[in-house]
Every structure is written in C-alpha cells, then in structure tokens.
C-alpha cells in the first residue's frame, strides 16, 4: 500500500503508511505509539489507554505513560491510582505516608489520623 491519506488507514488515522501505521490523527483523537514485538506503529484513539495520560499540543494530541509507580494518572505529575505497594497522597505515590497521616491499606491512600 503506497503511503496515502485515508484510503486503507486504520480507525482514526488522518494519514498513515504500511510500515509506520498512523502518522497523524483525525481531529481531537490521541496519537499513541504501540509496540508489538519488534514492530512499533502509530495508533489513534479517542482517549488514552489506562496507564497513560493525554496532552494536547498545537499540531498533535499525544498519549504518554504515567510514572513508573503510578497505574492511572491525570498528568505526568498527578497520579490518581498508585501501583501495588505505594500509597496515594496528593497525586504522588509514596512508599510510606508522611508524619501526621496514616496509611489506609484498603484504599491505598494516606489519610488524616482520626482521634
């Protein structure tokens, strides 16, 4: 398939090619890099997959990975659910809650100490 605009493009691609998959996305969609074995292709999604957050740039909307200790995040620096073994505190993932807060092993968050 010769590189072309829409014919034969996957889902939300605006432009694509045989080897690289999507090169650009239709408006409002997010561009995600997907690695399948040795290959790496571009994919266009309406929202970022779990473990990624979306950023809108002037020429492209991109998904990027959350930090290593974070499962789901709003931005790179604001986590909404930490990985196992970490407690969520104000968008950060901590191995130990700071003084004055206690670790809630049910919600895996740091919470105020109830007297």
């Amino acid at each position: 398939m010769h590189p072309n605009v829409s014919q034969g493009c996957q889902g939300g691609c605006a432009t694509c090619s045989d080897y690289n998959g999507c090169l650009s996305c239709k408006p409002r969609l997010f561009f995600v890099l997907e690695r399948i074995g040795m290959k790496q292709i571009g994919v266009c999604l309406s929202s970022c997959p779990s473990g990624y957050y979306g950023t809108r740039y002037p020429d492209i909307n991109k998904c990027a990975k959350c930090k290593a200790d974070c499962d789901t995040c709003f931005t790179r620096n604001f986590c909404t659910k930490c990985k196992s073994g970490f407690y969520l505190n104000s968008g950060k993932c901590l191995e130990k809650c700071p003084d004055g807060l206690e670790a809630n092993n049910h919600t895996m968050e740091c919470t105020s100490i109830v007297h």
């Binding site: 590189p3 090619s17 690289n20 090169l23 890099l33 040795m38 290959k39 740039y57 492209i60």
Partner: protein, 155 residues
C-alpha cells in the same frame, strides 16, 4: 561515502545480506544487536518508548517529508536520541526521503553509527520488520576492493 554491509539474521530463516552507507553524522564503526523498529514520531522528546532494554539496532522508516511538515527534532537529533535510549546503531530507510542523506552528512561525532538504506535493500529489510520476525543484525564496514577501479587498462 563509506559503504556498510548489513547482515540480517532472522530466527529460523535464511540470513540476508544488504548494503547501506554510513552517514558522516556519526562514527563509522561496526555494530550488532536485535532489530527493533521505531516509529518516526517515537524519536521526539515528548514521546517515550516502552522498550527499556538497551543493545538493539533501531530501524526507522522515514516518510515523505511533506507528511511530517513540522518534525519534532532534526534527523541528527533523532539519531542522537535513539542512541541515548539504548540503540547501538540507527538504520534509516530513506527510500521515501532522499533529503535525509544531506541532513545526516554534517559530522556530529555521534558514537552510535547511523546507516542509510534505500530501494530494494530497504524493501527486504522492511519485509523482515513487517513479518515481525525477531532478527539479529550485524553492521560491518565494507572494505574497498583490493584493486581500485580503473576505467582504462594498459596491456
């Protein structure tokens, strides 16, 4: 132009021997490692690649220039970034972007070799990539022929 021999050794399949040319943006030096494709847009500061191991050989299929009017980085900086992310060498398929050869001519002393490949050789290499068949790649410096090519021989 320094020629490169590229030996592609897919798992359980006959090896293929291709030819490319070393770009003077980087050192002319042999390299080997596992072949890994990188999307052109993955080599941007705003992108990451889940692949974290190092010691691989990156192949990037460049698209026609008009398909990426505002590249995030120059090709030289993309090659540099690939090296920083663990690539032992960067292969650029420039079949659809001959301007890449000029962009990668200015020496920058990059330590990982940058090899340009085009045409039928590139097609064969991308065929391996497209089949997503794990492959090992050896890049060698092609020695010039013992006897220089003379147009006229005196007998």
């Amino acid at each position: 132009v320094q020629k490169a021999i590229i030996r592609v050794i897919p798992l359980k399949v006959e090896p293929i021997v291709l030819e490319g040319e070393f770009a003077s943006v980087a050192e002319v030096t042999p390299a080997e490692g596992k072949l890994l494709q990188s999307h052109p847009l993955s080599l941007c500061n705003t992108s990451e690649d889940e692949h974290t191991e190092s010691g691989f050989i990156t192949i990037v299929k460049l698209e026609q220039p008009d398909r990426d009017p505002n590249p995030c980085l120059s090709l030289a900086n993309k090659a540099k970034l690939a090296g920083e992310r663990g690539a032992r060498a960067i292969l650029f398929d420039i079949t659809d972007d001959e301007s890449a050869a000029d962009q990668l001519r200015k020496p920058r002393g990059l330590s990982q070799p940058v090899v340009l490949i085009r045409g039928h050789d590139a097609e064969l290499l991308m065929g391996v990539v497209n089949k997503n068949r794990e492959a090992h790649v050896k890049i060698e410096v092609k020695e010039p022929p013992a006897w220089p090519d003379y147009d006229v021989w005196i007998l």
